[in-house]
Amino acid sequence: MTMRHPPLSDAALGIWPAYRRDVYGILVVFAASIAGYFMFPDSLALLTRIVSIALLVLSLDLVVGFCGVATLGHAALYGIGAYAAGIVCLRAGITDPFLLVTIGAGAGAGAGLVMGAVLLRTHGLPQLVLSIAFVQLVQEGANKASAYTGGSDGLAGMMPAPIFGMFAFDLWGRSAYLFAIFLLVVVLAILAVVARSPFAMLCRGAKEDPVRVEALGVSIRPVLLRMYAISGAIAGVGGALGMLATQVVGLDGVSFELSANSLVMLALGGVGSLYGALGGTVAFMMVEHMVAAINPFHWMTVIGGLMIGVVLVAPRGLAGGLDDLQRRMFGRNSETRR
């Protein structure tokens, strides 16, 4: 920037580099996903699943990183999105993928409102237990309502229509993966805007110092509840994507295990950073894929060690670790992320 330009206001100076960073970030994610398409043409199903879970982890980041909610039950929203899309596809004959994703998002948002209303009443341990009880309750409900959900057999036989009527969900998962990339980029763009909005700052403020924010005349719960609904919508998109890609919805989509794993992925990547959430998911699922192929129980040991290591060495996750590294190498304050 030279002196000849008219002086920019402080706000514009502060915001534009931030958005530029997001644009670059999304471009990098997009390029990496496209590269994955050409580099691993035989594992597109795995890549699609990674994107689907990444959406769940991103949505978890919104409630953990921005609202400070401790939850071990976030997969409930993912699974509800998947079941809603699957049931509508089977029963109502709606097969358009975009419409199904929208339905998944709506169901997730509704479930997010309910879950938020339950969880936001308490803090700490009771909140954690409430979240576990919530996901177990949803799983039990899905198991019992077998007329709609297929119970423990799961829901199968969905036949989503081709995307734009042209690209069918084929056996190789090509169109599913490209559809997944499209969803991921759209969600990232939305989240980049949300994360910089005054609304998200208010959520962070409420997380850091609820008393002071209340004193400013803001009633906290509706604000956090709104964030929970956004988070639920994104988790629902992830669930609907999983349904479209595999054409199966199972009880494991609403499980405590998936909830716990997604929290691990988030912490691994770095809480409060959208790209950290992405990186954590990719790292976790790649290691899982490789080690679990050898022996699923070695996988448990490895991931357990990984989790302990993250807490001891990089409490702010991969993203936090990279930030520190950048600061040390370039000697300047990179943008503060939390």
């Binding site: 401790a70 341990l125 009771p126 237990v129 009880a133 691990v264 129980f297 302990i308 807490v311 001891l312």
Partner: protein, 287 residues
């Protein structure tokens, strides 16, 4: 009436087994403020060691359990200064992450060493035979579990409420700085609390193996139940935990006998309602 009685005995015995395991978790969460999701792993290790000592090494039931408690404490002891001390006072997320990691690693290692099959702890003749208590016969093992639970309640209650040790422990937890200034070695008391919690977990895992079968996924499968018990009872409250264990044990066992189709649905629904109404647990201290 006969059904009612046998359900009641089973429910009380199951509740007591739960209590022996959960009270350690309750102490760690209520007194030390550590969300220890690896607690189930310690109970599992206790069960495995007891099974190994009785089946492979040929020890008796009671000696096997004693060895299991000792062994579990020895395994858990180095973890306190190495791992747990780093998460005291840290955000819940960090505690959850570290302790779930310990549980995961325990599952993987236990499966590697002992295999994925169910392990049993054979009962000695004195516990395997029914005991006549006048108007009915009760399985000896059930009686033993109930008696153990009562002893644990009494011992903990007296130790925490009425001994100098208990006073100093409570001081170290309530106001660590002040306690240190008065010459209480707080880190030693934290370590002691951790050891007692682990020993109780191992004991409960071994005597409760009839109710909660010993297998590698034990560590995660039952931690949800344990957490529910602790938060319903109120973390740190001995009587609250006892009450919650008996109540939830009764709901669980009765439900399984009478309405097996409903599964856990009403169990978790009632948990949500209780926590909704009493966020600090039925007998928890308000924070």
């Amino acid at each position: 009436m006969i059904t009612f009685f046998s359900i009641a005995v089973d429910a009380v015995a199951y509740g007591m087994a739960l209590f022996i395991i959960c009270i350690g978790l309750s102490l760690m969460m209520g007194l030390m403020r550590v969300v220890n999701l690896a607690h189930g792993a310690f109970a599992m290790i206790g069960g495995y060691l007891a099974s190994y000592a009785t089946m492979q090494l040929g020890f008796g039931y009671f000696a096997g359990i004693a060895l299991a408690v000792l062994g579990t404490v020895l395994i858990a002891l180095p973890l306190e200064p190495l791992l747990y001390r780093r998460i005291y006072g840290k955000p819940e997320l960090m505690q959850v992450l570290m302790t779930v990691g310990i549980a995961f690693a325990a599952i993987g290692i236990v499966n590697y060493l002992m295999g994925p099959t169910l392990k049993t702890i054979p009962l000695p003749p004195i516990l395997a035979t029914p005991v006549d208590i006048g108007f009915r016969n009760i399985a000896g093992h059930r009686l033993f579990v109930i008696a153990s639970g009562i002893v644990v309640v009494a011992a903990l209650w007296i130790a925490i409420e009425y001994t100098v040790l208990g006073v100093k422990l409570r001081a170290a937890i309530e106001k660590p700085d002040m306690a240190r200034a008065l010459g209480v070695r707080t880190s030693a008391y934290f370590l002691g609390c951790y050891v007692v919690a682990t020993a109780l977990a191992a004991f409960g895992g071994a005597v409760g193996a009839e109710f909660l079968p010993i297998e590698p996924f034990y560590a995660l499968r039952y931690i949800v139940t344990f957490l529910v018990v602790v938060s319903v009872g109120g973390a740190g409250s001995i009587l609250g935990s006892l009450f919650a264990c008996l109540l939830l044990g009764a709901i669980d066992v009765t439900g399984r006998y009478l309405v097996p189709d409903f599964g856990n649905f009403f169990f978790y629904l009632s948990v949500i309602l209780v926590i909704f109404a009493y966020p600090n647990g039925l007998m928890g201290r308000a924070r």
